[in-house]
Amino acid sequence: MAMSVQELEGLLREAFADADIKIEDLAGDGDHYRAVVRSDVFAGKSRVAQHQMVYAALKGRMGGQLHALALETGPKSP
């Protein structure tokens, strides 16, 4: 019931090739992360849609293998 930073980043990188990705392991247990994902694919999308895209990238692991992922998403800063 945990995931390495590398695995998490790999899944995000695979889905958001252009993204700036920053990941913090909040509790040091591989189960509570905070991720900032900035990608141009988020431009013009609602927050719910943006987070759903990230969850889709995690292919069902969110809520199961990964307990907590605090998310901040948005387009890349100009």
């Binding site: 927050r47 719910v48 987070h51 759903q52 969850y55 069902g60 969110m62 809520g63 199961g64 907590a68 605090a70 998310l71 901040e72």
Partner: protein
């Protein structure tokens, strides 16, 4: 599963603001749920709380309902607003208050 979907739909349609959460508003059982409770209480909006820990079908059903894998989930006037991160972000920017005020759900705008 379809019973759970009906129950979820009826709950969301029958209440202006619904929070699906772990625990109850009086006794949240998860830090993320607790954050949303505190925000809603701070804004002074009344809402229905649904404890997903009390019903496994609802717990899984609400995730399918919104295509959202985590709890808590906030619904306003039948629409999914978001989970903890989005609610907190919208609270901080004032968007949540604006949304609730626009829907006529706040006593004082």
């Amino acid at each position: 599963m379809s019973d759970a979907q009906d129950t979820i739909r009826n709950t969301i349609e029958g209440n202006d603001v619904v929070l699906f959460m772990k625990g109850t508003a009086d006794q949240p059982m998860c830090g993320f749920s607790n954050q949303v409770v505190r925000i809603l209480d701070h804004l002074g909006v009344s809402y229905a709380d649904v404890n997903v820990l009390a019903d496994q079908d609802i717990r899984e059903g609400v995730k399918a309902f919104s295509n959202w894998p985590t709890i808590p989930q906030l619904y306003v006037k039948g629409e999914f607003v978001g989970g903890c991160d989005i609610v907190r972000e919208m609270f901080q920017t004032g968007e949540l208050k604006t949304l609730l005020a626009e829907k006529g759900l706040l006593e004082t705008a």
